[in-house]
């Protein structure tokens, strides 16, 4: 990976958009009826605008803290929370679409919301994607054991500022 990759694409992938939309909608629709989905602004998932996430008031806290966080100017929600390979991106959106809609509708999720290990892995891959140059030394070193580097162990406030 070179430095040039440290500016990630912030637009939706150009190819295969329709398929992606279908995947994401499908995921969300498993959680909600199509109409409800629309009313709850379920299409938020297809946008990269952070405001899309806050359409769901449950994401308000993260939105507010992200605005105060150190990355506000550098990274949006999806820069961190969605994989940047094409398939991963839409599979994740589908999965999240399903879980978020279901959680929101049935109010049956764990509060406070805690990031899932699989989602955290995605986030950390994104840290490395942007910061390859900075962390290449110890990341390479870790890969010897095939483990991923736990950036959030130390930088837990990177996305949302200090927890407290």
């Amino acid at each position: 990976m070179g430095v040039s990759e440290s500016k990630p694409p912030r637009r939706l992938g150009r190819i295969g958009l329709p398929a992606a939309v279908i995947c994401a909608l499908f995921g969300a629709c498993l959680g909600l009826g199509a109409f409800t989905f629309d009313y709850a602004e379920g299409t938020s998932y297809l946008s990269n605008d952070p405001k899309a996430c806050v359409n769901c008031h449950i994401m308000r806290e993260q939105y507010d803290s992200w605005q105060k966080g150190p990355h506000h100017a550098n990274a949006t929600c999806n820069d961190c929370h969605v994989p940047h390979d094409f398939m991963g991106k839409y599979l994740t959106k589908m999965d999240h679409g399903y879980r978020h809609s279901k959680g929101f509708t049935f109010q049956d999720f764990h509060e406070p919301i805690q990031i899932k290990p699989s989602s955290l892995k995605i986030v950390e891959d994104n840290c490395i994607r942007c910061h390859t140059s900075m962390v290449s030394d110890f990341v390479a070193h870790a890969q010897v054991k095939g483990e991923h580097v736990n950036c959030v162990h130390c930088h837990s406030s990177a996305g949302h500022g200090p927890r407290r």
């Binding site: 409800t36 009313y39 509060e111 927890r163 407290r164």
Partner: protein
């Protein structure tokens, strides 16, 4: 239905402004406040619930039966008759009226300061005794304050049996909230006096920044939490109105918080020593001993949470989402019964992991406390034996002083209700000292016997 659900949530999110009707400075009945704030009221009334945790919870079992060694430690004092695990706020007034400490021993009206809603009772008494103004004056006005303090002083000195007729509710909304704005405010004179003398002392209190700030100022006016404290500090001071060490000063039984030198265990001891104060003379050993009482605020003050700005309310009244709004959970109880909202907001571990961490801390405290209890008990026994064997009171003065020191320390941690959690290392340090003094006393007695 789903769709409706979302609509409801959107509506809830909009309803954030308070609409306060029909309550004022004399509204004691929580049901009336509840009409304006039904969610907070729902939580408030749930403090009747009974659920036990390993070292806490709300089952009012008899502590003197759970560990009989404490009967001897309290020998000669009301606490040796009846001493229970405390429970929810709903019970505070009835538990006090019914405890054998009250039914079998005379107690002063001062007891009521922390077991009832008494803003109105204090003020009315003050007015009756000639204080300016009426109940319509805001509590924080000069007149309101004059009424409050005057009535408080008078009621402290009354016999409990009479004073208790002046009140009819456990702590209610009015004790913690300003009826016109719902802001927190301090209404208990004992705390207003106590925090004022603390501010005037030089004990560093990095966890109370407004006090530190006041100290750097011109000190023209005494420190006043209602004027000076931040909202985050108020979220602890509200509780520190009652969850503190206290004693009744002089014949007037004036409820007093012994913070004149600072909040630490040793500083409080020094205050009592200098005042030559004792709570009672130990019935078995003859030592002039002190009783510690629920120093939650004092111990919390020495812990890392206080230092990090984490308030009582953060853990004991965590925010709770009700639809789209967040409210403070007024069901005040052990946070271990509500780990998700109390702890997981800040600590990103599983519930079982968090409970395990608390268990490690509490078990270590309990372990040392067990040693301390043994040590103090043995000291009491050997002093009594020495007395019987004819050792003079003069010779026994030092061992008895050592018992006073040891017992004060042991009881400080035992009477505190978090089993060391509020400040784990400090609790262990205090217990280490308790053991040191108690065992030194034993050696001293053994040496006397060898003479």
């Amino acid at each position: 239905a789903l769709q409706q659900n979302i609509a409801t949530r959107k509506r809830e999110a909009a309803a954030t402004v308070f609409q306060i009707v029909g309550i004022d400075e004399s509204t004691e009945d929580p049901a009336l406040w509840g009409k304006n704030f039904p969610k907070q009221h729902d939580g408030y009334i749930r403090t009747v619930d009974i659920e036990r945790t390993r070292h806490g919870g709300s089952e009012a079992y008899q502590k003197l039966d759970a560990d009989v060694r404490w009967r001897d430690i309290f020998a000669g004092y009301a606490f040796s008759i009846d001493y229970r695990e405390e429970r929810g706020h709903a019970y505070m007034l009835s538990d006090q009226r019914e405890t054998e400490r009250v039914t079998q021993r005379p107690q002063p009206g001062a007891c009521l300061h922390c077991h009832s809603s008494n803003v109105v009772a204090f003020r009315q008494k003050g007015i009756d005794l000639g204080a300016r103004g009426t109940l319509k004056d805001p509590l924080l006005s000069a007149a309101g304050q004059e009424q409050l303090h005057k009535g408080f002083e008078a009621i402290c000195a009354m016999p409990y049996s009479e004073a208790t007729k002046l009140v009819s509710h456990p702590v209610t909304c009015l004790d913690c909230h300003d009826p016109s704005s719902m802001a927190l405010r301090i209404s208990k004179p004992g705390f207003l006096n106590g925090i004022r003398v603390l501010a005037a002392s030089d004990d560093p209190v990095p966890h109370l920044p407004s006090v530190e700030r006041w100290r750097k100022g011109d000190r023209a006016k005494p420190y006043d939490p209602n004027a000076d404290a931040s909202r985050q500090e108020m979220r602890s001071m509200t509780c520190a109105q009652c969850h503190v060490e206290y004693y009744f000063k002089g014949d007037q039984k004036l409820l007093t918080y012994p913070w004149h030198r600072g909040l630490k265990m040793e500083q409080i001891e020094k205050y009592y020593d200098a005042a030559e104060y004792k709570d009672w003379t130990h019935a078995i050993s003859g030592a002039p001993v002190l009783k510690a009482q629920h120093p939650e605020f004092e111990l919390w003050s020495q812990g890392i949470h206080a230092r990090s700005g984490v308030s009582c309310a953060d853990c004991h009244m965590p925010y709770k989402r009700e639809g789209a709004v967040k409210i403070s959970d007024h069901h005040i109880r052990s946070p271990l019964l509500n780990v998700a909202r109390s702890c997981q907001v800040c600590h990103n571990y599983t519930e079982s992991e968090i409970k395990a961490r608390v268990a490690v801390i509490q078990d270590r405290t309990a372990d040392l406390m067990d040693r301390g209890t043994d040590a103090v008990n043995q000291l009491i026994r050997v002093i009594a034996e020495a007395k019987k064997a004819g050792v003079s009171d003069d010779d026994l003065k030092q061992p008895r002083e050592l018992q006073r020191k040891a017992q004060w320390r042991l009881d400080f941690v035992a009477a505190e209700n978090s089993m060391g959690f509020h400040a784990p290392q400090e609790a262990a340090r205090i217990l280490g000292e308790a053991i040191d003094y108690a065992r030194q006393g034993e050696t001293a007695v053994a040496k006397l016997r060898a003479k």
